[in-house]
């Protein structure tokens, strides 16, 4: 009995300490980005032969790989000041559930009216030699023969594809000559508040079908593979508007 009282006391003390710690850190907060993948509004299922996804040309396809980088995450305050989250790069991979929830800590507390981020990896980091973490070439998102990161990769199959095994291989990247860097930006309906120890959360829906609709019609019989170059620009121009949509914004909470 005595022991359990002692233990509870310790637990209370610890809890108090944790609260105190967080109160001190209330000038910054945490923001999590939660990703959900769809194709034309239907949840994306990888390697699902019964999926019958269709592009704007009515070609059917399936998806085996879908992954992409986002970086240079920037929040704009209601007063119009841009707060760039330094040194953050996320590799979102539809096949890796852990990658679908990404947390950013130390976001300055405040009211924000919008968010933007780069789809891909910026020029400085594309020409910086050997890197690690999110940018480790072991992640399979680096072109070894034409140095630079693959910003977005979608692979799959389509009966209409004239490639070997009816494959689809869309690797989008490149900056120097054919620039495929695109920026997503979004204005919140009401200001996003970040503070305290309750993280704010933004739910983002990524629509893989965005690669194949928009300004450029993609006919899988003619275009089923890109490895950077002019065709990758066509795909990037398609998805620059429709790839991401923000479906929910949860405010951070301040706790005493």
């Amino acid at each position: 009995m005595k022991k359990s009282i002692f233990l509870s006391a310790i637990v209370c003390l610890l809890a108090g300490a944790i609260t105190a710690f967080n109160t001190i850190k209330a000038d910054s907060g945490e923001l999590s980005l939660n990703f959900k993948h769809v194709v034309n509004g239907v949840p994306l299922k990888l390697n699902d032969n019964s999926a019958h996804y269709a592009n704007a040309n009515n070609d059917e396809y399936t998806v085996s790989t879908f992954k992409y980088y986002i970086s240079n995450i920037t929040l704009t305050t209601t007063k119009g000041k841009d707060v760039v989250i330094p040194n953050i790069c996320f590799l979102i991979n539809a096949a890796d559930p852990a990658s679908l929830k990404q947390s950013i800590t130390g976001v300055p507390a405040g009211k924000y009216k919008g968010i933007s981020f780069t789809i891909g990896v910026d020029s400085a980091r594309n020409f910086a030699g050997a890197q690690t973490g999110c940018l480790d070439p072991a992640n399979g998102m680096f072109w070894t023969w034409n140095s630079g990161y693959i910003f977005l990769k979608l692979e799959g199959y389509s009966p209409q594809s004239t490639a070997k095994l009816h494959k689809l291989t869309f690797h989008v990247g490149g900056i120097k000559r054919q620039n495929t860097l695109r920026t997503f930006s979004h204005s919140f309906n009401k200001p996003l508040q970040i503070h305290g120890n309750e993280p704010a959360a933004i739910s983002i829906t990524t629509d893989a079908a965005a690669l194949f609709k928009g300004q450029n019609l993609v006919d899988f019989a003619k275009l089923n593979s890109t490895m950077g170059g002019p065709n990758a620009v066509l795909i990037a121009d398609n998805y620059k508007n429709g790839l991401f949509s923000i479906t929910n914004v949860q405010q951070g909470r301040y706790e005493n």
Binding site: N126, A130, D136, P137, A138
Partner: protein, 357 residues
């Protein structure tokens, strides 16, 4: 008193440590008594200065160990050194194209490795933009070492030898691809070839002098070759068509730029150590220098994007009499750097000690 001595010793150590970095100022990177990188007097400043990858003796030794270790290839059969042989200036003797695992033959001639710290772009088509990522191509190409980075890192992490060597070089046992690439760069980036007879003549070193044939060759070289093979690197690092084919099978620079004007253009190779680094051209089509010179003299095709330097004559190319070819060849041989080709620092330490693990 003892304490004072200790402080003094610590001060000395500190100064020694700082010296390693202050070496950056005059482009000499030192580790204790060992000079690992020094810009030759007759060279420009290097492009790569080991920024973010401080050069150390242990880093260099680790890079050398990795360079000579077949553990990096898929079936553990070949190392970097299989295609990059020191006696051939780290090109591959008698192999027109690279020869990878499972006897797979590539499409391009193995480039020689030296003076890489002066290059911004790598490979025949210039597709690789940084020395540190230049090994990735060979490590992962199905027709070369055919491996993948997670597998290589996993093998290194399971090796007591490499755990110890990475600890010594980078003070961590958390091996990753970045450290692998940095270590390899500490070796390849220090492969400097600047002690050929040519260099000694240029630096007015005692007793260094061209004979009359070499001198005549040098005069010819400056008039007819140096526009592309610019001194002292003997390349201007540009991409050009030297009229090998009317329409090249290999798209060359076009592969990277997606511009038809770049179809069949390849990087101008350095002529240093050219005597020992044949076969020649991106596909190794010429076995010897005589064939190369004859190509320029009379064998040139005329693609649409033939380099303008070859166009003014009545026929494409550079007219060279037999005597001129002999003189040029004599000069080209003064670019052979025997010290570099036999430098023990760049050799496989296992072979030296005749002990394999």
């Amino acid at each position: 008193m003892k304490i004072k001595l200790l402080v003094f010793a610590a001060g000395l150590l500190f100064i020694a440590g700082v010296n390693t970095f202050s070496g950056l100022a005059d482009n000499a990177f030192n580790t204790g008594d060992t000079v690992l990188f020094k810009t030759p007097e007759n060279f420009p400043s290097p492009v790569y200065t080991f920024q973010g990858n401080p050069l150390t003796l242990n880093g260099f030794k680790l890079g050398r160990e990795l360079f000579y270790d077949p553990i990096l290839s898929k079936d553990r059969s070949i190392s970097c050194a299989n295609c990059h042989q020191q006696f051939a200036a780290f090109a591959q003797l008698d192999h027109p194209v690279s020869h990878g695992v499972d006897d797979c033959l590539g499409t391009r001639n193995t480039p020689a490795l030296f003076n890489l710290a002066w290059q911004q772009e790598f490979m025949w088509d210039g597709g690789v933009n940084h020395i540190e990522v230049s090994p990735l191509n060979a490590l992962t190409s199905d027709c070369e070492m055919a491996n993948n980075l997670p597998e290589i890192v996993d093998r290194l992490k399971k090796s007591d030898k490499y755990i110890a060597l990475f600890q010594q070089a980078f003070h961590t046992t958390d091996i990753n691809s970045q450290l692998l690439l940095k270590a390899l760069t500490q070796f390849t980036g220090t492969l400097i070839s600047a002690n050929a007879k040519y260099d000694k003549v240029m630096r007015h070193e005692e007793g260094a002098q061209f004979d009359s044939e070499e001198a005549a060759g040098y005069t010819l070289f400056k008039a007819k070759c140096a526009a592309c093979h610019r001194e002292p690197l003997f390349t201007d690092l540009s991409y050009r068509s030297n009229g090998l084919d009317t329409r090249s099978d290999d798209a060359g620079r076009d592969t990277i730029t997606h511009q038809d004007a770049d179809h069949g253009l390849f990087k101008v190779p350095s002529l240093r150590n050219v005597e020992v680094s044949g076969p020649y051209m991106h596909d190794g089509r010429f076995d010897n220098l005589a064939q190369v010179l004859e190509h320029y003299n009379a064998g040139m095709a005329s693609p649409d994007n033939l380099d303008p330097l070859f166009k003014p004559a009545t026929k494409p190319g550079i007219t060279l009499s037999m005597q001129e070819q002999t003189q040029l060849t004599a000069f080209l041989k003064t670019l052979t750097d025997h010290e570099f080709l036999t430098d023990p620092a760049f050799q496989d330490t296992h072979k030296n000690n005749e002990q394999y693990e």
